[in-house]
Assembly symmetry: C2
Homo-oligomer: 367 residues x 2
């Protein structure tokens, strides 16, 4: 199939055999024709979105889909991580069933990471699986959560505990949607962009440092490069380890600490990307204490995180609460907490750490 | 790996590439050593069972697993199709999380079809997937629901609407557990055994007819053959079409009508197998009206269903209600109900039928 995009746009392939798909990246894709061609055919489509995104972009997506689906249904969820739970997910099932949607129905996730995770999980489970398309409208979703097929809802005891690996049929990143992003959401997305540098690509880290002001100003070319390179790195990792047997866990750099912050404060208090930004500062300090990177490198990346408008000091939940929350992290094994640490700048690995050392990191990085 | 079973027992392989697994069939397997060797290793196992089965067999399974897992946890669910819902499923998640179970934890489904469907779906979703083992204790689960990786919960609007295709690591059918089965449950299981004849194997249909009294008396050799041959046929179909793109749907012979009966009466009123038995009578009549099989054949199979102690007349829900319920069947496409019908004795296919003809069948087969 020829590229459905103009030269101005980009395309990244996720190579997963029969589950392979493309990420389309460019301006104006919601209003373009090509991104909506060649998708799975069905009588019906369902747009899953939220109260914030619906007024901005739902009509545009509906118009784009109208030529391809006889019926385009819509379900509008509440906005926020605190709603990423079963009762909200059930709104999607209720809509699908009340509209008589069959197992060919195509689900479109229009929104940020929460919408994408829930719409994807609903698609994974509805009649044991219907196709879905990610249409991420936040930077965080475009560079990370919409790519790679991780879907989930939260459980009161832990983040993303109930979910599925379920790949979308396509990801459509319309860069124009980033213009309406609140500043906090932009910063949260930059946390995941920055992440790819220290774990996988030092040249990208250099580039982000040189362009962080342009990214904060939302310069289109800078955002386009950040999204494309982030997706390329993620595509490479996911292509090698779809179900996180091993390598894929490095994408969770900063997330062990970050998930504890999110759950400890109550979902929705900090944005996911904010918690990850702060969690990376902690993971950098842990890597330093383990003797894997020097203090200068930890400081360098932490400074970049701060320049992205992200918190670099964690909430004072108390070490016991942090440890308790981290013990139910999905990477934990047999009760031992496992962390993504840097083996050296540009390379990450998963390993345990002495509890005393983790306590020192928490003491250093929380207030 | 050599067969873990003695010569007295049987083994059927489900060939699905890297998701392949064995069905072990024989007497005394719960108390034997071999069936519990070579499973995925973990610090912890969770037995999912129900209030009826737990007092009978949980201690035996726990003893069998003790040498292999440091901790063997247990969650005991209420019994019955009416509990196959999200709130009961959540009991499994709560147990997994409160016990600190990590993503290597192995789930064991000890019970009938409801327990197997829920434990399997919980395993599919917990931390995006942990291994599980089916230990079916009803005839229906041994010959059908434990094999092939279909997992699900019900939604008020339709049966098995929320679920996943997720294959177990092994299926262990201890034939001794059939001794404690209530008569209604035995008959319900025979419905799924009988099913395999008209859709796939006329020689098996002959054998069932010749041995129906022995099966009703629970003669061990007859039950062993019925379980093995049923599993072989199911393994063959599932191996060719794991995710029901096409062929696999024939295993749902009698289920379109049957699911409508279950949902229409309220889950748990009729057993699933009872509804399927009656649904097959309806599907036979539909096949006859479509000119695919003759009246004598429809009568022959219906008589066998009756001899198995199953209902052959459906509840008088009214044709409108039947049609409404069948329109949300998973096989429906674009609002058209699709039925599994016999193309000829021993061969099935999926197709639509004129609504007037379906109404005639309902008029003939309900009271």
């Amino acid at each position: 199939m020829p590229s459905p995009l103009s030269d101005a746009s980009q395309q990244v392939r996720i190579a997963l055999g029969e589950r392979s798909y493309d990420i389309l990246i460019g301006p104006g894709l919601l209003a373009a024709t090509a991104p909506w061609q060649g998708l799975p055919r069905s009588a019906a489509a369902l747009i899953v979105t939220n109260v914030t995104v619906a007024p901005l972009y739902a009509a545009r997506l509906r118009a784009a889909l109208a030529p391809h689906y006889r019926q385009v249904h819509e379900v509008v969820l509440p906005d926020g991580e605190e709603h990423k739970d079963w009762s909200t997910l059930n709104q999607v099932f209720d809509t699908l069933l009340s509209r008589g949607c069959d197992r060919k129905t195509v689900v479109f996730a229009l929104g940020g990471g929460v919408v994408g995770d829930m719409a994807g999980f609903a698609a994974a489970c509805y009649m044991r699986g219907v196709p879905y398309v990610q249409v991420p409208t936040t930077l965080l979703a475009q560079v990370d959560s919409s790519v790679g097929g991780k879907t989930a809802i939260n459980h009161p005891h832990g983040k993303n505990m109930i979910g599925a690996f379920y790949q979308p049929a396509r990801v459509v990143c319309d860069l124009d949607t980033l213009a309406t992003l609140p500043p906090r959401e932009l910063s949260a997305g930059l946390a995941e962009v920055i992440k790819y540098g220290p774990i996988a690509d030092m040249a990208f880290l250099d580039w982000i440092e040189a362009n962080i002001d342009a990214l904060m100003r939302r310069e289109p070319l800078a955002l386009a490069h950040a999204v494309r390179r982030s997706c390329e790195i993620k595509a490479d990792v996911v292509g090698k380890d779809e179900r996180e047997a091993n390598l894929r866990a490095i994408l969770n750099f900063g997330h062990t600490f970050g998930h504890a912050i999110e759950a400890g404060l109550g979902y929705g208090e900090w944005l996911h990307g904010e918690a990850v930004g702060c969690g990376m500062v902690m993971a950098l300090q842990l890597s330093r204490r383990l003797g894997l990177v020097d203090a200068a490198f930890a400081q360098r990346v932490s400074a970049l995180i701060a320049r992205a408008g992200l918190p670099v000091v964690g909430p004072a939940l108390g070490a016991e609460r942090y440890l308790e929350l981290m013990r139910i992290d999905k990477k934990a094994e047999g009760g031992e907490i496992r962390f993504v640490v840097l083996e050296k700048p540009g390379q990450a690995a998963v390993r345990g750490a002495p509890e005393e050392m983790v306590r020192q990191v928490l003491a250093d990085c929380t207030r």
